[in-house]
C-alpha cells in the first residue's frame, strides 16, 4: 500500500482527463435537489465529495434495478441466450460503509454458485472510497462496520485542508492514478486517522455488534415485532435503498412484435407482502410482524452467521426512507432494550 497526496484541484483536473479519455465510465456523487445520488459524471465539477448519504447505494451498478439475464425468441426454448451486460466503470467517493456493503455482496454472489452477472460487473469496476465529511441524522455505521470496505476499495481518499490523502490499495488503483499529480504525503498517520474520524455518527446501536446474532436468537418472540410491524405499510422502501439487500425476482418482458423476449432480474424485497408466497397461494410470511422480524434477523443474525459480517452497515438509508418511521435498526434495538 502506498500513501500519496494530491490537491483537490489537481484531483478534479485529473478526473476531467479521465472522463475525457473514456477508458471507463466515471461515476460519482452529485447533488440532486436537496439530496445526493451516484450518477455518471460529465465533468469533475459535478462531483460532490462533501455529502451526507446518497439516496441509493452504489449497488445499482453491480445489481441494477433491472438487468437482462436471458434473451430468447418467445416459445423457442432452444433460443435462450445468457446475457451479461457490463462495461468498465470507476466510482468516485463511496463512503466506507457502502464499501463494506459491497464486500458483503461480493461474498453473497461469489460463495457457492458464482453469479457472473454480478461478479463480472464488479471485476470491471474501480472503487475510490472515502470517509464521511458530513453528519447524517440516521447514520450509525461505526457501531456495525469495521473497515472491511478497504478490502474492496482500490483507492481511499481522506480530505485534509484542501488536499486529498490518497491510499493506493490495489495494483488497479496504482495504474489508474499513474498520470495524477500526486506528491509525497507529509501527513502523519495520526492526522489521517483523525481526519477519517472527524465526523461522528449521530446514532449508535445500543449493543455490541458481536452479540447481536445471539441477542436476536433470544428475542424471536418479543413485542417489538408486532409493535413496529403493525405500523409497516409494506412499501419495501427500506429494502430497496439498503446497500446489503440483494434479493431479486425474475420477470419476462416480450417485445410487442413478439420477435424477442427477455428474462430480467429486478429488485425484490422481503418486506413486500407476496415475497414468500408459493404457487398455491400460501404465504410463509403472511403477517407484517413476521416480515419485519425477518428483515432484522437477516441483517443481524442470518447474514453474520453465514458470512461472518454484520448484514447492516449502518448507513441509515432505511430510516431515512421509511414513511412509518420504523425501519431503522437503532430504533428497533433501542425499543428491545427499553422493553426487556
Amino acid at each position: 500500500m502506498e500513501i500519496l497526496k494530491i490537491s483537490k484541484n489537481d484531483f478534479y483536473s485529473f478526473l476531467d482527463r479521465k472522463i475525457a479519455a473514456k477508458e471507463s465510465k466515471t461515476i460519482g456523487v452529485v447533488k440532486k435537489g436537496s439530496h445526493y445520488v451516484f450518477a455518471q459524471l460529465d465533468a469533475a465539477s459535478d462531483l460532490c465529495l462533501d455529502y451526507d448519504v446518497t439516496i441509493l447505494p452504489p449497488k445499482k451498478y453491480f445489481q441494477p434495478p433491472k438487468e437482462v439475464l436471458l434473451k430468447y425468441v418467445p416459445k423457442k426454448p432452444g433460443s435462450y441466450v445468457a446475457v451479461n451486460e457490463c462495461e468498465p466503470i470507476t466510482i468516485v467517493g463511496i463512503h466506507y460503509y457502502d464499501l463494506a456493503a459491497i464486500y458483503l455482496m461480493d461474498k453473497a454472489f461469489s460463495e457457492g454458485e458464482r453469479d457472473e452477472n454480478y461478479l463480472k460487473k464488479r471485476e470491471n469496476s474501480l472503487l475510490i472510497g472515502m470517509y464521511p465529511t458530513k453528519p447524517q441524522k440516521n447514520r450509525f455505521a461505526r457501531s456495525v462496520t469495521k473497515d472491511q470496505g478497504r478490502h474492496v476499495a482500490d483507492i481511499m481518499l481522506t480530505e485534509i485542508a484542501g488536499h486529498l490523502v490518497v491510499e493506493i490499495l490495489t495494483p488497479k488503483g496504482q495504474e489508474y492514478l499513474k498520470d495524477a499529480k500526486t506528491v509525497k504525503n507529509d501527513y502523519s498517520m495520526k492526522e489521517i486517522e483523525d481526519a477519517r474520524n472527524n465526523v461522528k455518527d449521530d446514532q449508535k446501536l445500543p449493543l455490541a455488534v458481536e452479540v447481536v446474532p445471539q441477542y436476536l436468537g433470544n428475542h424471536y418472540e418479543h413485542p417489538v415485532w408486532e409493535h413496529f410491524g403493525e405500523k409497516c405499510f409494506s412499501c419495501g422502501s427500506c429494502v430497496l435503498v439498503c446497500p446489503t439487500c440483494y434479493c431479486f425476482d425474475a420477470r419476462e418482458e416480450i417485445e410487442l412484435s413478439l420477435a424477442e423476449g427477455k428474462r430480467v432480474r429486478v429488485w425484490d424485497g422481503c418486506m413486500l407482502e407476496d415475497f414468500a408466497v408459493v404457487a398455491d397461494g400460501h404465504n410463509f410470511r403472511k403477517n407484517k410482524s413476521s416480515r419485519f422480524r425477518h428483515r432484522i434477523f437477516r441483517k443481524g443474525k442470518h447474514l453474520p452467521e453465514k458470512y461472518g459480517y454484520f448484514g447492516c452497515v449502518g448507513c441509515g438509508r432505511c430510516a431515512n426512507s421509511c414513511t412509518a418511521d420504523i425501519a431503522g435498526p437503532v430504533k428497533v434495538f433501542n425499543y428491545m432494550e427499553e422493553n426487556k
Binding site: P77, S79, G112, R114, D115, Y246, D280, F284, R285, K301
Partner: protein, 290 residues
C-alpha cells in the same frame, strides 16, 4: 434437437453462456397424461445427458415468454435422458406447460437441492407419509426404494388426499397394492360424490394401520402440504419415532435455485440449497420451518 425449439449450435460457446447460472438447457416433452382436473404427468427428455438427479431434488422449468417455476422431480434417478414431473396447473408457467403437447420444448435448470438420504436408510424400514401432490417428490424415493428393494426392510406407503378425484398415479397405486413387499394405505379427507369405499379421514388416521414397527429401525419420510407436517410429526412422536428418524421435504418459493434470490429463505437456511429435504431433528429449532 427439434425443428420448433430454435436450437442453434452457437448458443453454448462463449464464456457468458458457459458461466451463467441462469441459462436453461432444452428438454423436449415426450409424454403427457392427465391425472386429475388440475394435475398432469409430464415426461421430459434432455438433449444429450441424463438429468442426474437424486430422489427428492427439483428443477427449474422455463417457458420462454412466460417464466420459470421450481418443480419436483417425480422419477427415480435414471441412466436415460428422460425425467418425470407431475405439475399442478396453478400459475402462468404451469398453465403454459399444461397447454403443451409432446414434441414441444421447455427450458430446464437443475437438478437442485438436497435429496432423500437413501443410502443412510439402508437396512431400515421405510414409512412414507404423503399428502396430495406431496406424493410427487416422494415417488422419486419410493421408486428408488422399489428398485433397490433388498436394501430396505419393511416398506410402508401412506397416501392421503382431499377427495378421490385428486388421487395421483392411480394405476401405479393399484400395482403397489398388489405387491406383497409393500404395504400401502390411502385415505381421502372427504368422499364428496365419488364412488369410494376406502378410508375417509385425514392422513394421521392411517398411522395406526402401520401396526407395530420399531421406530428406531424405521425412517419416516413426510411430504405434503404445509398444514400436514405438525400433525403427522405429532403422530410419529406418539409412536416414539426419534426426531432424527423423521425426514421432511419442505416447500418454499424457490425462485433462483442457486441460493441467491432470497425467496426461499427459512430462518438461516435457503430451502433451495440446504433443502428441500431435511431431517426433522435439524430444523425443529427453526422458527419458520413448519
Amino acid at each position: 434437437m427439434c425443428e420448433n425449439c430454435g436450437c442453434t449450435e452457437t448458443n453454448q460457446k462463449d464464456d457468458v453462456q458457459k458461466n451463467s447460472i441462469y441459462l436453461p438447457e432444452v428438454a423436449k416433452l415426450t409424454q403427457k397424461k392427465k391425472m386429475t382436473p388440475f394435475d398432469s404427468f409430464f415426461e421430459f427428455q434432455l438433449k444429450d445427458r441424463p438429468l442426474g438427479h437424486l430422489p427428492g431434488q427439483f428443477a427449474e422449468i422455463s417457458v420462454p415468454g412466460i417464466g420459470e417455476a421450481p418443480i419436483s422431480i417425480s422419477s427415480a434417478p435414471s441412466e436415460a435422458n428422460t425425467f418425470e414431473m407431475v405439475i399442478r396447473n396453478v400459475g402462468s408457467v404451469t398453465n403454459a406447460i399444461h397447454s403443451m403437447e409432446p414434441g414441444e420444448c421447455v427450458g430446464v435448470r437443475g437438478p437442485f437441492g438436497t435429496s432423500f438420504p437413501m443410502n443412510n436408510l439402508k437396512g431400515k424400514n421405510l414409512l412414507f407419509v404423503t399428502g396430495g401432490i406431496g406424493l410427487v417428490p416422494a415417488r422419486s424415493a419410493i421408486l428408488y426404494a422399489m428398485e433397490h428393494r433388498k436394501d430396505y426392510k419393511d416398506f410402508f406407503i401412506l397416501f392421503g388426499c382431499k377427495d378421490p378425484g385428486q388421487r395421483l398415479f392411480t394405476d401405479e397405486i393399484e400395482n403397489w397394492k398388489k405387491r406383497d413387499d409393500v404395504i400401502f394405505h390411502e385415505t381421502v379427507d372427504r368422499k364428496e360424490n365419488f364412488p369410494w369405499d376406502g378410508n375417509v379421514g385425514v392422513i394421521t388416521t392411517l398411522l395406526p394401520k402401520v401396526g407395530k414397527v420399531d421406530p428406531k429401525e424405521t425412517y419416516a419420510i413426510i411430504v405434503g402440504p404445509p398444514v400436514m407436517y405438525k400433525f403427522v410429526i405429532m403422530g410419529l412422536r406418539d409412536l416414539e419415532f426419534p426426531d432424527d428418524h423423521i425426514i421432511v421435504s419442505l416447500e418454499r418459493r424457490m425462485k433462483c435455485g442457486v441460493g441467491k434470490c432470497g425467496h426461499c429463505q427459512m430462518d438461516n437456511k435457503y430451502v433451495c440449497q440446504d433443502g428441500p429435504v431435511f431431517y426433522y431433528d435439524d430444523i425443529k429449532h427453526l422458527k419458520e420451518a413448519i
